[in-house]
């Protein structure tokens, strides 16, 4: 196996890192140039204020409960663990009892986490203040 085959193109990692920096600076500069070029040259203060007697713009209050995000996070965490079960399921017969026990242990650990979340009240939907 000729490892140089792999090494040579990856040598470009370094070059790309330098390019990253170039791009970083370039975008910084362009953004500033552009904003300056397009900005209104007339910086009379009044023009930038809120229209006459119009009320201050109020933000849309965040109506989504934080509990929702917590749910989403928990879902994400447990969902991701599926990736470990997928290969196990495919090779279930090959792995046999050993694989089964191992996966049960894994699920047990997940269950501990689940119980913990439950007891902590993270799953209680109505518990919103």
């Amino acid at each position: 196996m000729d490892h140089m085959n792999v090494a040579n193109p990856y040598f470009g990692v370094f070059v790309l890192f330098v390019l990253t920096f170039g791009a970083f600076f370039a975008t910084t500069v362009i953004a500033r140039l552009a904003s300056r070029a397009m900005a209104a040259k007339d910086t009379e203060k009044l023009k930038l204020t809120v229209y006459e007697c119009g009320p201050e713009v109020t933000k849309q209050p965040n109506r989504i409960s934080p509990q929702f995000y917590l749910f989403a996070l928990l879902f994400l965490l447990f969902d991701v663990e599926i990736v470990f079960m997928f290969p196990w399921a495919i090779d279930f017969k090959l792995l046999g009892w050993f694989g089964f026990v191992e996966m049960m242990l894994f699920i047990l650990l997940l269950a501990v986490g689940f119980i913990y979340a439950w007891k902590k009240g993270a799953l209680e939907w109505h518990n919103i203040k």
Binding site: M1, V6, P9, Y10, G12, V13, L16, F17, L19, T20, A23, F24, T27, T28, P66, Y69, L70, L73, L76, L77, V80, E81, V83, F84, P87
Partner: protein
């Protein structure tokens, strides 16, 4: 044109570079987490491609591990972000300078 390992690796490095730029440029904390996800997934592409090149499945297993770790990192980060947002009403990192010096 045949797509070789090199192409995958260049893709992965490009993605990594994009992620790095994001990390450096963004001031929105949510975007920062997006950027770190891009970084990790760029590496995943690399792992999968190399694994395929060697005909060795371990590389793909590594990708799974990376996904799991990325998820837990993001979970910790987002959990904190929620608390942060509830307390300070914003997720802009330029406001995060109470300690300096």
């Amino acid at each position: 044109m045949e797509i070789t390992l090199t192409h995958y690796l260049i893709l992965s490095t490009l993605l990594f570079a994009i992620g790095l730029i994001g990390v450096m440029r963004r001031t929105n904390l949510l975007m920062l987490f997006f950027a770190t996800e891009i970084l990790l997934n760029a590496v995943n592409i690399g792992f999968a491609a190399i694994s395929r090149y060697y005909g060795d499945l371990t590389g793909q297993m590594f990708a799974f591990f990376v996904i799991a770790i990325a998820a837990s990192e993001v979970a910790v980060g987002l959990g904190l972000l929620i608390v942060w947002f509830k307390r300070s009403g914003g997720i802009d990192l330029t406001t995060m300078t109470s300690m300096k010096g």
